[in-house]
């Protein structure tokens, strides 16, 4: 049977080749697109978690209502107690406070409002890996009047390592405050929104500047497994409600704003797209096998006259489709894997595009990288084979149902 199917596949070489090609291209697209989209989304999630949220974020309930305004007055006076309590919760690896606020940076005649993050330098290496992102100079030190600024910001305001700037801001009580800060390092995260408009300042200096002694505006909590953030948030919320009823909120990264929601839907939308591509390409198998069955009506009638049963006839047709689809899927998956590997190691550089687009507020890196996953590759391969086999069923049924006398008359 296999031999018969194989010979039939090579009977019309050009047709089999073109059919195979369309399956191979579809599988290739599914594999590399999936790898790329997964890579981009994972990168966005990762950036979102490391730079904006942590796995779980603890906030003052009133802060949440006006978060866009960064209301310093709605802070966390019980910072020490809460971070200690969160640290003691199961699976928590780190709980550390920070203050996010707005400042005005000025150099000569240029000025720019930017986001400032008051951070604990020692633990920041475990959160944003800021220490590894410094491209010039060094990381800020606790207790020092220093800052690290983004590489694009430095370029825009003509700032260098060693420059000292006076930064202006409002304290938690609304009065204007100023502080001289020395630029000790320039960082590059490769993320537009961060590199262009963010500075990092030691937390203790920030508290001093903003009149927020021993207080922070948010606490980042990290747990062992990122995907268990929601149950972890519930556990921390329970502790908060017990110790400080009604004051604080613990929120998992998946529940932060609308981005996660959109990104999850983007995943579904792309999944739909892969299936659509595979589905459409499976029509070439359907068409090819129908043509093949139609051409061989007489021959199939003869084989049935010789005693071949309906399901054996069906099996031969499905086997032919599986041979074409199987070989094509392996080739397509290999192509797709090759492209995915290239995109995972080299990536696609969107630096120029982003510069032209101006500021966009998504935590997307400049360089898109695919992920190279055997899971994605074998899934694409499996789907290619499955769709090929399914598409062969209608023509195979037609062949099986042929009446031998009528088929022989053709």
């Amino acid at each position: 049977m296999l031999r018969l199917a194989l010979r039939n596949v090579f009977r019309n070489k050009r047709r089999s080749f073109l059919t195979g090609l369309s399956i191979a291209v579809a599988v290739m697209i599914a594999v590399y697109l999936w790898s790329l989209v997964s890579g981009i989304l994972d990168d966005m999630f990762d950036n979102m978690v490391r730079l904006n949220n942590g796995h779980v974020r603890v906030l003052n309930k009133n802060y949440v209502k006006r978060e866009r305004m960064m209301p310093l007055g709605e802070n966390i006076p019980d910072y020490r107690a809460i971070s200690q309590a969160a640290q003691d919760a199961p699976n928590v690896t780190l709980a550390v406070g920070r203050i996010k606020f707005g400042i005005l940076l000025e150099n000569q005649d240029k000025s720019k409002p930017v986001f400032a993050n008051g951070i604990v330098p020692e633990t920041e290496s475990r959160i944003s890996h800021l220490d590894q992102k410094i491209v010039e100079g060094r990381l800020i030190q606790a207790g020092e009047a220093e800052m690290n600024i983004g590489v694009n910001l430095a370029r825009d305001l003509d700032l260098k390592v060693g420059d000292t700037l006076t930064v202006l801001t409002q304290t938690a009580y609304g009065s204007v405050a100023a502080l001289n800060l020395k630029i000790v390092g320039i960082f590059s995260f490769g993320v537009q929104s961060i590199d262009k408009s963010t500075v990092y300042i030691p937390l203790d200096k920030t508290q001093q500047l903003l009149d927020l002694d021993n207080r922070v505006t948010e606490i980042f909590v990290f747990i062992r497994e990122m995907n268990r953030s929601r149950p972890a948030a519930r556990e921390i919320q329970a502790i908060l409600d017990r110790d400080f009823p009604g004051q604080y909120l613990a929120r998992a990264w998946q529940d932060e704003g609308i981005i996660y929601f959109y990104m999850t839907w983007a995943r579904y939308a792309y999944a739909f797209l892969y299936f659509l591509v595979l589905f459409l390409s499976s029509f070439t198998i359907l068409n090819t096998m129908f043509m093949s069955v139609l051409e061989r009506t007489h021959e199939i009638g003869m084989m049935k006259a010789l005693g071949m049963k309906d399901r054996q006839v069906m099996w031969v047709i499905v086997l032919e489709a599986l041979l074409i689809g199987g070989i094509a899927s392996v080739i397509g998956a290999a192509w797709g894997a090759g492209i995915a590997y290239y995109l995972a190691t080299v990536g696609i550089d969107f630096t120029k595009t982003f510069d032209q687009m101006g500021r966009i507020n998504l935590p997307i890196s400049y360089v898109y990288r695919a992920i190279f996953s055997w899971g994605i590759i074998s899934f694409g391969l499996g789907m290619g084979i499955l769709f090929s086999a399914l598409a062969a069923v209608p023509p195979a049924l037609r062949a099986a149902r042929l009446e031998p006398t009528e088929a022989l008359r053709e």
Binding site: R3, L4, R7, A305, L306
Partner: protein, 228 residues
Amino acid sequence: MALVKMENAVKNYKVGKVEVPALRGITLSIEKGDFAAIAGPSGSGKTTMLNLFGCLDKPTGGKVYIEEHDIITLKPDQLADVRNQHIGFIFQSFNLIPVLTAFENVEFPLILLKKHGPGTRRKKVLEMLAAVGIADLANRLPGEMSGGQQQRVAIARALVKQPDYVLADEPTANIDTKTGHEILELMRSMNEKLGTTFIFSTHDPKVMEMARRLITVRDGLVESDVRR
């Protein structure tokens, strides 16, 4: 002993909305060892009779028994089994599978039969190809053989599983007279040597002469049935 018999068999075909009678009540039995020709003009019902003998079709009325089975009661898979186990077919236009070699074409019904291992199958196929005189063409594809050679392959294919009887629908129609005569000679020698029963249709007077039993049909009825 009757291998296959018809009792008042009627077969009508629908052409559009009109029922066209092909057989109008045929009673006939084929005995073991027969070398029988069914003769008659086009449209007389020869092919329809062969289809019923071959379990390829069921009668509209009357009965057809094959090895005591009433074929009207058999399901498609059972009919396929009967064809596979008891009946050999030779077609007018040879009908070999074009992508398989002569050897593989002859082996095909044995594979469907699922009774023999590859070694036995090989032995049987080679013996049969030698018996029909084309042992040297075993590896040729049908496209690389003449009509007469292809029909020899078809005979080998029909006989290799040692069927109870072989049905041949105008086996010489698509080959020249001389080759046709050789093919008939081959069939008759197989009938004599192996005792295989042959039923074939023809409207060629020379072919009729070679038959030991001549059944003439006209307008769906048996006109005469002569043994010689």
